[in-house]
Each structure stands twice: as C-alpha cells, then as structure tokens.
C-alpha cells in the first residue's frame, strides 16, 4: 500500500470516528431548537426547519432550570475550592514534610483506592441524616471536600520541589505556612489547575450521590433534575434535549478551554496502578 493510500484510509477512518463521536452531540443541539413534536416524525429530521428557543424559555420559565443551574454551579465551585485547599495542603505534606506515620498513612490511602465509593454510600447517607445534612449543600460537598486521588495528584507533583528551596526559606526564618503560600503554591499552580478541572467536571457530572442525598426538588443539580424531568415528560423530546444541552455545554466549554490540564490529570491518574 502506498503512503498516499494509507494516509487517505487513516483519515477516512478518523473522520468516521469523529462523526460517530460528535453526531449525537450535534443532533442534541439541533433537536433542542425544534418546536415541540417536530422531532417525533419519520424519517427523523437532522436540522430544525424553524429554529426556536422556545424549549429553553420553557425550561427556565416553567421547569425552574435556573435554580438547578445555580445549584450545580454553586456545588461544583464549592467542591473545587475546598478540594484545592485541602488536597494541596495534604499533598505537599505527604511529599515534603516529614511527620510520624507518614509512609504508613500514605500506603493505606493508596490501598483504599480500590474500594468503590458506592460501598460507603449507605452509611454515609445515615450519617448525613443524623448530622442533619440530607438535602443540604454540605451533604454533597463534604464527602468530596478532599479526596485520596487529589492528595495523590498533588503529592506526585510536589515531590519535584527541591528541598534546598524549602531549607533556604526556613533558614531565612520563614514559617511553614508562609513557605507554603509564597513558595509552594506558585510552583504547584499547573497541577492545581488540573485538580480544579477534574474536580469541577467530576462534581458537575456526578449523579448517584446527589440523587441520594438531595431529596427536595429545589436542591436538585442539573443531572438529577434532568433524570427526573425525563421520567415526567416522557413525550417531549425537544424539551429534554434542551435540558441536556444546558447540562453538557458548560463542562464541554470548560474542557475545551483547559483540555491540556485535564489530559495531564488522566495520565497521572493512570500511572498510579
């Protein structure tokens, strides 16, 4: 096979794969712009004949989607902030500060990575109930406020900070808190962006735990609200697709803007095994 033919074949295959990947997403956008009922015809229409924002207006005016959007944004932001703060502190400590029991603790944390998070969910729910956190933002944020994976990610990166840099600062009389804020955090910045993107997307896309701990509709996140909407309005596909667009669009945009950092996170995460 000539190089030219191989090149054409490879690109044809890639274009086919890209089309398969993107068509469902593009079609979701197209249907979301159709008036109610237009998509329920055969053959299925690809593009709206008369694009309309009516479904979006309906979602905000009648379905209270603004509220869910705000819940999702608020929860993902809070989770990201606390995860950045707690995981960077702990990750740095595990990498660079000697303390009693450090190695044993770290090994325990790593070993616990094999436990699926769902194992903890039932008692966690009871715990949240006793603490009065069912149906609160705290109920969603607290369990994700720090994570083994986050600590691990920061630690791996922080290992590369030269000890001399920290020693020099100590000799100059700087306290550990000051060293962390002035020297460590700026060095950690790239990995903190990675951690922020991964946490935000993870929190935004999370389904099972919010579904369990948020029982009141006014507290729903977008995915939980969308699942409930789809069970109520089985017929109105155009409305559902508009809801899906609102849910997917923010994370897709965030990913496109920061994909370099996101992919670094995946690769570092896959080395852990």
């Amino acid at each position: 096979m000539s190089v030219r033919a191989a090149r054409i074949l490879i690109h044809l295959a890639l274009i086919l794969l890209a089309a398969l990947s993107l068509l469902p997403l593009l079609w979701m956008v197209a249907v979301s712009l159709m008036p109610g009922g237009e998509a329920s015809t055969f053959p299925p229409p690809f593009l709206p004949r008369h694009p309309t924002a009516a479904n979006y207006q309906l979602l905000f005016a009648r379905q209270g989607v603004g509220r869910y959007l705000a819940n999702s944004l608020w929860l993902a932001s809070l989770t990201t902030l606390s995860s950045l703060l707690l995981n960077s502190l702990a990750g740095f400590a595990f990498a660079k500060l000697r303390f009693a029991g450090r190695e044993a603790l770290f090994r325990t944390l790593l070993a616990a990575l094999v436990i699926p998070s769902q194992v903890a969910m039932l008692p966690l729910f009871l715990m949240m109930k006793w603490l009065g956190f069912v149906n609160t933002y705290a109920g969603v944020v607290l369990p994700a406020a720090a994570s083994i994976f986050g600590v691990f990610l920061v630690r791996q990166y922080a290992l590369s900070i030269p000890d001399e840099l920290l020693e020099a600062a100590r000799i100059d009389g700087a306290g550990e808190a000051r060293i962390f804020a002035r020297i460590v955090l700026p060095v950690l910045r790239p990995i903190l962006v990675t951690l922020a993107v991964l946490t935000f997307l993870g929190s935004w896309n999370d389904f099972m735990w919010p579904l369990i701990v948020l029982t009141d509709q006014s507290m729903y996140t977008l995915p939980v609200a969308l699942a409930s909407l789809s069970r109520e309005h089985v017929q109105n596909n155009e409305l559902k697709m508009a809801g899906a667009v609102l849910t997917v669009l923010p994370v897709l945009v965030l990913f496109l803007a920061l994909q370099r950092y996101y992919i670094r996170g995946i690769l570092m995460g896959s080395v852990k095994g």
Binding site: I10, F42, F99, R102, Q118, L226, N237, V251
Partner: protein
Amino acid sequence: MKTGLAGWVFAAPALLIIGVFFFLPVLAAFAVSLTDFDLYALADLRNLRFVGLENYAHLLNSREFWRALGNTSYFVVVGVPLSLAASLVAALLVNSRLTRLPGLFRTALFAPVVATLVAVALVWRYLLHTRYGLINWALAAIGVHTIDWLGDPHWAMPAIILFAVWKNFGYNMIIFVAALQSIPADLYEAARLDGASLWQEFTRVTLPMLRPTLLLVTILTVAGYFQLFAEPYVMTEGGPLQSTVSVLYLMYDQGFKWWNLGSASAIAFLLFLMVLGITMLEVRLVGRRDEA
C-alpha cells in the same frame, strides 16, 4: 521537630474528611451488612438486630441478586473488550505518523467522555427510539429491520453497551496514545529492516510494548464497568423484564427505595469483594505469563 508538627497540621484537614466521610462509612457498611437495618431501624435504632451473615446468605440464594450479577457480568464481559478495542484503534489512528491535525481528532473523540452521562444517556435513548430514532433509520437504510432497542429484553443490554463504548472509549485512547508515544522509534526501524509487515509490527512490537498499559487499563475499566448504574437508571429503569438491573441498581433499589439498608450494604460489599478478586486474578494471570 518543627516540620513534623507542620506536616500533621497540613495533612489533618484532608485526612479528617477522608477518614470521616470515606473510611468510617466503609467500615460501617460492613457492620450494617451484618444487621437487619430497615425502615423500622431507621425510625428507631432499638429495632435493629444483629443477624450475622444472614443478609449474605439470603442474597446468594436469591434469584434477583444472581440476575443482577449476570446482567452486570454481561455488560463487563462484552463491554470491556469492545471499549478497549475501540480505544486502541482510535489511539493507533490518532498517533499515526501520517495523521494530520491529531490534536483536533483527539479532542473530537474525547468529547463524549466529558459530556454529562445523564444528559447523553437521554440523547441516546432518543437515538435508539424504535420509531423516530436515527439508529433504526440508519439500519433501515442498509436493510436491517426495526429493532426495539430499549423495549426488548434481548436488545436492551447490547444497546447500553453500545452507548457505554461510545461514551468511554476516548478515555483509554488518551492513555494508549501516551503509551504508544513512549515506544522507542528504533524498535520499529529494526522491524522494518527485518522486513516486517505492518501487521507484524503491530503484533511483535506494539502489542508487547503496550502490555503493562493494557493490564492497567483493563483493571481500571473492569472495575469501572462493574459500577454500572446511571445508564440503566436513565435509559431503561432496569427494564425490560429486569434485563438491565445491575448490581448497583439493585443496591440502590434495596437501599433507597425499599430501605433495606442491611441487605443493600451486603450487596455493596459483595460487589467490592468481587472487583477486588477479579483485579487480583488479572494481575496474577498476567504475572504468570511474564514468567513463562
């Protein structure tokens, strides 16, 4: 030591969160799985009784549990190889020397991974619609009869597998691309000098060099696929005829629909033990082949 104290102070908040909201509930899950924790115990803890391994025995004798395990295994056994094959093919294409704009293709193929699962599951439910879905329309064009994807017990799980492959293949593709790039170029040159065909290059150089990555990716994907839940929750609600009730779906129903928290905790623990066992088996099998 000064840094000793600082170390503990820095690590404490994260350790506290992980300890209280993960380790403690995991231990509690085991304790709860040895009780008959139900709606009455939820109202008043004095109704709680210790039942030993009764929940486990009950599950292992129930048809529901075995069916859920069977459905989940079906999803794993068919879904994982398909996903990995798709990821590997995509990675080889993206990583080829001949490919123009690899970054653009990589981003396009990765988009489904980032998209919110619940949202795209809804899109797929519609794509799979018996009468108005694009998938049946495309199949009709090549002469295949209408398939009631999500309404037929034989087709519902294949449909979910198709969706999962679409949603997830981009993730492992990224890992494969990184591994492919770390294979030294002179290995391929040597193979070419020896007159190896493209296929021989793939089986003699690429695959052996990818083995550690393949093992890792298999372990992570198997563990991930055993946690099937949101797909059937949104696309089929476990139906038709319970053909898509997964182990976690059963746990969710037992725990949060019927409030049988004892039994649900036992399900969670059995799932964990199974995943752990399978992971260890995978490592052993590959390790033994390495010795041979």
